[in-house]
């Protein structure tokens, strides 16, 4: 390894011109990256980690400028380099991969052509051999049947495969530095592991340097040698990965590590040190009587055919999205429903909420067959008020023209009996207090609230009618870890206080471990395993459960190691690309 750093950033400052004046997004940022080294920049949203990487690539938005400092790459100052020189470097010397691989690819150009574009641009191929080289790149990123996939459009590939294609584009010209900006956020854990292992392999093969931008400490710990922690535009700590987790020096790093759901921590351990809540949350008594019984629930989505499809297409019976799923949820119990995207967990919750009609099977709630109530009539059924839902996307699930107060009052106005203004206001204030939402925020609109505050509004709205059952669909997946820690604790306290039952849908086993008594693991619409959370997580019986647990990147030393054999995408064979 060479001692001269490949990338050196000194005292970088980036400002953005906004309507409210100049905003300093990044300041005093300095670090260096050696050849072949893997460095992670870790931080929560707004920490400036992505801005730093965009500034390095010089692809900041039009309103952003490097206000000070130097970025030296292989002896060249990138902040003063001409645009033509930068454009030559990008893709050839420094490459970047992004979050949400599907939208990072041109939707109407075949993936093969997109790889060729880069090869041609940097004279790494001619018109004669570009096709062979593009297919070779697809093979290198372990895409099965590369000759066929060369002709595929991004929408014909799974998310994991799209990210492999993005990696192929980034590495096609053999660069020296790869910047990965949240490369696996939004991908399933097993896909995340496959993609990251692949990137790690390729990195080691060609002595590539990696700059990983992530919010996930576990991911950083697993794949990087050194970690830089950023908070609000500044670097608060930089250290070797091992040292950082063993002895974090900065209080922010300590808070961040503490807030990460992990094997050795309880729910209260996640809270920042100053928090007064230390006693473990009490669990409500679990009644013997079942609250919700789901029996052989099945949902098959019919082939969507319009008139032309019926006239000219051929129909084939698709596999059921949910296949004979049965479980019982007792009063006061918290049940986790875990699985990767497409496993049928959200379809299940939609059927229980009666947003979707089941194809077969029964749903019994409070002793009544709710699957037999017509979908349109269920909204006005008294049972409808007994179950409520909290959604993953806290912004999209709030009406942008409603204040927080109006949003929380909404179910009361629609389903409750309380009508007069005074008692309504009083009830909303009570609910806000229950979810620790400061009363002065009640008159704000969603865009004026932070992610955590919007989550609280969503939860307050869900408990407004004192329901018995809350269906929580990935309620913390979009939140920063420190906010997630607080929201999870809030949910645990609410459940104890109000005797609620939870159906908690998540892809994150660590979060489920903290909040659920029992867990169901689903895969491709079928229940793979069911049991007490502690048992399932420590002694999984199904291989799939073990695979899920092993794929969780962890900061703890006993965890699974990377560089397990890289397998192709689990979903690789599914949306078989129609080859033209």
């Amino acid at each position: 390894m060479n001692d001269v750093p490949l990338l050196q950033i000194d005292d970088l400052a980036v400002t953005f011109e906004t309507r409210g004046g100049k905003v300093e997004a990044v300041r005093n940022v300095s670090f260096q990256l050696k050849k072949g080294e893997a460095l992670a920049i870790v931080g929560e949203s707004g920490s400036g980690k992505s801005v730093t990487s965009y500034a390095t690539m010089r692809i900041l938005d039009r309103n952003g400028t490097v206000a000070g400092g130097r970025i030296t790459f292989g002896g060249m100052d990138l902040t003063t380099a001409s645009e033509a020189a930068m454009s030559d470097l990008r893709g050839r010397e420094l490459s970047m991969i992004f979050q949400d691989p599907r939208s990072a690819l041109n939707p109407i150009r075949t993936v093969g052509r997109q790889i060729e574009d880069v090869l041609l641009r940097h004279s790494q191929a001619t018109r004669h051999d570009m096709r062979a080289k593009a297919i070779e790149m697809l093979r290198k990123v372990k895409i099965a049947r590369p000759e066929e996939r060369y002709h595929a459009y991004p929408f014909e590939l799974s998310g994991g495969m799209c990210q492999r294609v993005v990696i192929a584009i980034a590495l096609a010209c053999d660069p020296q530095l790869l910047i990965a900006d949240e490369p696996t956020t939004g991908l399933d854990v097993t896909t995340q592991k496959a993609v990251m292992d692949l990137a790690d392999d390729l990195r080691r093969q060609s002595n590539l340097s990696l700059l990983l931008i992530t919010h996930d400490l576990g991911l950083a710990a697993t794949y990087c040698d050194r970690i830089v922690v950023m908070e609000r535009g500044r670097i608060v700590e930089a250290a070797e990965a091992r040292t950082l987790f063993a002895a974090p020096r900065h209080p922010y790093t300590r808070r961040l590590i503490a807030a990460m759901p992990r094997r050795s921590a309880g729910l209260r351990d996640l809270l920042p040190p100053g928090d007064t809540k230390r006693a473990p949350p009490t669990r409500p008594a679990i009644a013997a009587e079942p609250l919700l019984v789901v029996d052989k629930l099945t949902k098959t989505f019919g082939p969507k055919l319009g008139l032309p499809g019926r006239l000219f297409g051929k129909s084939e019976a698709p596999a059921p999205a949910v296949d004979r799923l049965s479980f019982i949820l007792h009063r006061g119990e918290s049940l986790g429903l875990v699985g990767e995207s497409g496993c049928g967990k959200s379809t299940t919750s939609s059927m229980i909420m009666r947003l979707l009609d089941p194809t077969a099977g029964q749903i019994v709630f409070h002793g009544e067959r709710i699957d037999q109530i017509p979908r349109a009539r269920f909204a006005s059924s008294p049972l409808r008020a007994r179950m409520q839902m909290v959604f993953q996307d806290h912004t999209a699930s709030l009406n942008p023209r409603f204040t927080a107060r109006r949003s929380i009052a909404d179910p009361i106005l629609r389903l409750g009996r309380r009508r007069d203004r005074r008692s309504l206001d009083q009830r909303v204030a009570e609910l806000a207090e229950k979810v620790s939402l400061p009363p002065e925020l009640l008159d704000r609109f969603p865009h004026q609230l932070s992610g955590g505050q919007k989550a609280r509004v969503g939860i307050a709205r869900a408990i407004a009618l004192s329901p018995d059952l809350l269906i929580l669909d990935e309620p913390t997946a979009a939140l920063d870890v420190s906010v997630q820690a607080v929201v999870l604790n809030l949910l645990a306290d609410l459940r104890a206080e109000m005797g609620l039952s939870y159906l908690f849908i998540s892809h994150d086993l660590e979060v489920v471990r903290l909040l659920c008594d029992r867990v169901i693991v689903m895969r491709a619409g079928v229940m793979v395993e069911e049991g007490l959370t502690g048992e399932v997580l420590t002694h999984p019986r199904a291989d799939y459960t073990r695979e899920l647990i092993d794929a969780i990147p962890s900061i703890e030393p006993d965890s699974a190691l990377p560089n397990a054999p890289v397998t192709d995408d689990p979903a690789a064979g599914v949306p078989a690309a129609p080859v033209r």
Binding site: S87, V118, I169, P308
Partner: protein, 339 residues
Amino acid sequence: MSRISLVAGRIALSLPTIFGVIVISFLLTRALPGDPAAYFAGPTATPESIAEIRHSLGLDRSLPVQFLAYLQDLATGDLGRSISTGQSVLSDLLTRLPASLELTFLALLISLLVAIPAGILAATRPDGIVDQATRFLVTAGVSLPTFFTGLLLLFIFYFKLGWAPSPLGRLDILYLPPPQLTGFYLVDSLLAGDFETFRAALAQLALPAITLALFTMAPIARMTRAAMIAALGSEYIRTARAAGLSRRKVLFVYALRNALLPVVTTLGMVFSFALGANVLVEKVFAWPGIGSYAVDALISSDYAAVQGFVLTMALLFVTLNLLIDILYTLLDPRIAHES
């Protein structure tokens, strides 16, 4: 589903639309005020002669029977006879339709050639000079009525400057129309190798086409600008930039091809606006197209002519939308997948 079966399905779906149009055009003309039998019989007619004419026109039969007879006539290509011109409606339309289409197509061509580059330039530098100029042109284009723009252009280029020939039809009386092949004078004169006539036809076409183009430019330029801004801000453009692709490639291959999708959709709408605006432009420039024909027919309660016009326009729209849909399917690989 393959693209071919998708296109076939789309064509099948347009058949009920066409039938619906036939029904509506039939009923619409029956509902219009005025009695064609009385009109036909002339001012000195007696009630008996009117009744006789009514009988000979088949107007005394019940509506369903009339409709069936109408369908039968349509199947043989008989659109009836125009009361005012005395010609068969089909031949009237066939001579006048090319005049209108030539005008509309040239106007759309001009407007695409101006609006798309303007939209692209405006999107690459929002609030720059080109953007401001485009905004001005676009606002003027939509807010001024076409007959006014037409008269204004005539005032300047014909009356004041004398650059344009007198606005009296498709060709100056000094020239003979070129031998008819397509009915488009520009194309026919070129095919005949008669550049003199081509120049004369173009001179006549220029002002009305520009008038119409000014009107159709606005939605195209706006949509191109908006779609380009959206495309340029998208994540695949960021990826393309991060891969070092040239500015040219990013702009034209990555952004523009994606941005053209909504523009193509808009084009269908714009074409129908243009056909509507044709009526006024044709009146101002004494253009012998189907728009002015339809207005005259409507005023004189000339059913068969109005019916024929409505039907022709509807078929044009259906065909056009079909073409746009097919074009869209070819441009966007995702369409075949979604359905």
